[in-house]
Symmetry: C2
Subunit: 369 residues, 2 copies
């Protein structure tokens, strides 16, 4: 028997810019063309962006190779859509010198990034997120993917974008509930990483709900700095990146229990409330953070209790199926204080007994709204 | 306008073992289990491996989660098969703690590697190559992928295996023509990288054709050392890795012109002959390497001229469509001497005028066999 070792060389550090500016959308293709001279461009978007006029603003009415995802939203987030996009790129005879541009919300960005990651073994992707959740969260960090018939984001890659462009003006056309639910990720960022940002959100919540672009630029910048600092430290989610799952462990169970009829942000809001109750039950709360978090979530019109149709037992079962579960029962991200996650034994997600979680879920489902 | 830079940290160097041994197949699952304790295993193979009994040898008759690609071969190398494999993994409720095992030839390895690269954003893959071409070439280097409706390996990732296990005994059941055609990659490795290995192949060609496993172990070790040293230097094919394309630029055009009825190795053999003719036309040959290369290819039963059905004009057209073409006309990898590729201005692939290539193709198509 003979053994040979193949060495894989280290990969150099890299980086990408996030550019934030109101009204930048119409000038982006020229800018991307300067960043990637001689590259062919391929745009992935969805029908809601076409309807809202943002696709036309981006292209300036030029005829360009593109793919419009129909229908818009999570229901198109599967391998069939990925395959259709890739075949469209092939039919345009695109080669390795292509840059993929994802214009849209989280679904568009996740699929466009996945397509770029596997086209000719990888071409660059540029994200132009157009929803509150995509601008705050999903466009940064390099997660791409589609759902399987059984689970969310079952297939995908880590594929960092070459650039992210955020134009808060694109939020003007966003559906109201989607707009508000997406802001929950901003509250999450503030809660886990920056008490000053949290105070800014509290102070400016009316301007934010009024879609004041000057304030939205600041919100975007704060979100991006927080998300970037977390993913820089732990790009493939071995430990610290888990703090971004604050509110998400319960949130995912609520999403699943509600058959994905509730928006992600609505479920994460409930998850954050439960996290606060667990912190309380653990004797970790000696400030007003629970009141402040609940107050801002209410201002955003988010639910702060579990819908009567969802039973705590069902959530307990779903939690045992959590894909991030180490062993059989997931760990939970909890706050030590506003702007700081509880870290114990170098772990940013904690083991919490089933009993405590069950107690909190039962308490919350009985709460009056 | 506001700009934030996201830093992507450097990735540490890594590595993986290639283990070569006759008869190791039956003990591999135990070995993989030791290398990946607590991981679930999922085997990807094809019907020819099942028929030849190698799948049963690997599993020891145990019932294990697996997917059998049907029919075997390139015709199944598409996104539909990838999707079927991924959905099978989901139905087995596999999670991130899975290791994918690819048992088979190049198609199996390419698809199994691709599936591993995108399942839950990446799980390890172990390759057990069972053909001459996969043992010499495709199982090492991290290229994965499937074909599109228009081109070969259009979609895929770079995804390095966690280990490669080569059992020359699996070659005993391989179809004769496939066996011989796969050996062309060994000739290629020797020609581009090691004159001593070339002499070894010349001396032992009868034992190799007789499938003498003691000699085949040596062949495998030589191939792996050469391929490993090249991909270590340039894992994502920016420059040096291109030397592995020796004979392949013309070879791919011949494959395409023949509607993929000829085996890859047969086409690469023709490509190597043409490369030699180009070297001659460039005045670069002052040794007997062309005679020696042609002699060993003939011993392997490979074609050394272009089939009469394929016209030089057609090959010229196909060369302009080469996916690795920088600009419009591909570069060619040529030998400086046996065991060493011609490197000019730090480039391992050279610009050669269309006229010279056309001349050589015409000359070869007129040659008497």
């Amino acid at each position: 028997m003979n053994e040979i070792v193949v060495h894989i060389p280290a990969q150099e550090a890299g980086g990408y810019p996030i550019v934030i500016g109101t009204g930048i959308l119409s000038g982006l293709l020229a800018r991307i063309d300067r960043q990637f001279p001689k590259k062919a461009m391929f745009i992935v978007t969805d029908e809601s962006l076409v309807r809202a006029g943002h696709f036309a603003t981006l292209t300036g009415g030029r005829d360009m190779p593109h793919y419009v995802i129909q229908p818009a939203g999570e229901q198109s987030k599967h391998l069939g859509t990925l395959s259709a996009i890739l075949e469209a790129m092939e039919k345009h005879r695109l080669a390795r010198d292509t840059v993929v541009i994802g214009l849209g919300g989280g679904t568009v960005g996740d699929i466009a990034g996945f397509a770029a990651a596997v086209f000719k073994r990888g071409v660059p992707v540029v994200h132009i997120p157009t929803t509150t959740v995509a601008q705050a969260d999903s466009s940064i960090g390099g997660k791409t993917g589609v759902d399987s018939s059984l689970s969310k984001n079952a297939y995908g890659c880590f594929w960092h974008p070459a650039a992210v462009f955020i134009d808060p003006a694109t939020l003007k056309t966003l559906d109201d509930l989607q707009y508000r639910a997406g802001l929950v990720e901003s509250v999450k960022h503030a809660a886990i990483a920056d008490a000053e940002y949290f105070a800014f959100l509290e102070k400016n919540v009316d301007a934010i709900l009024g879609r004041d672009t000057a304030i939205l630029e600041k919100v975007a910048a704060w979100n991006c700095r927080i998300k970037a600092s977390v993913v820089e430290e732990d790009p493939t989610e071995k430990n610290k990146r888990r703090i971004l799952n604050y509110g998400h462990t319960i949130g995912h169970a609520v999403e699943s229990a509600g058959n994905y009829q509730l928006l992600h942000g609505q479920c994460v809001a409930i998850g954050m409330i439960v996290a606060g109750m667990i912190e309380q039950a653990m004797g970790m709360v000696n400030d007003d953070r629970r009141i402040r978090i609940e107050a801002i979530l209410k201002k955003l019109g988010m639910p702060t209790k579990i819908l009567s149709a969802i039973k705590p037992e069902q959530l307990m079962n779903l939690l045992s199926l959590d894909k991030k579960a180490v062993g059989k029962w997931p760990r939970f991200v909890l706050l030590e204080k506003l702007g700081w996650v509880w870290c114990k034994d170098s772990q940013w997600a904690q083991e919490i007994s089933r009993d405590i979680v069950e107690q909190c879920l039962e308490q919350l489902s009985k709460k009056t709204p």
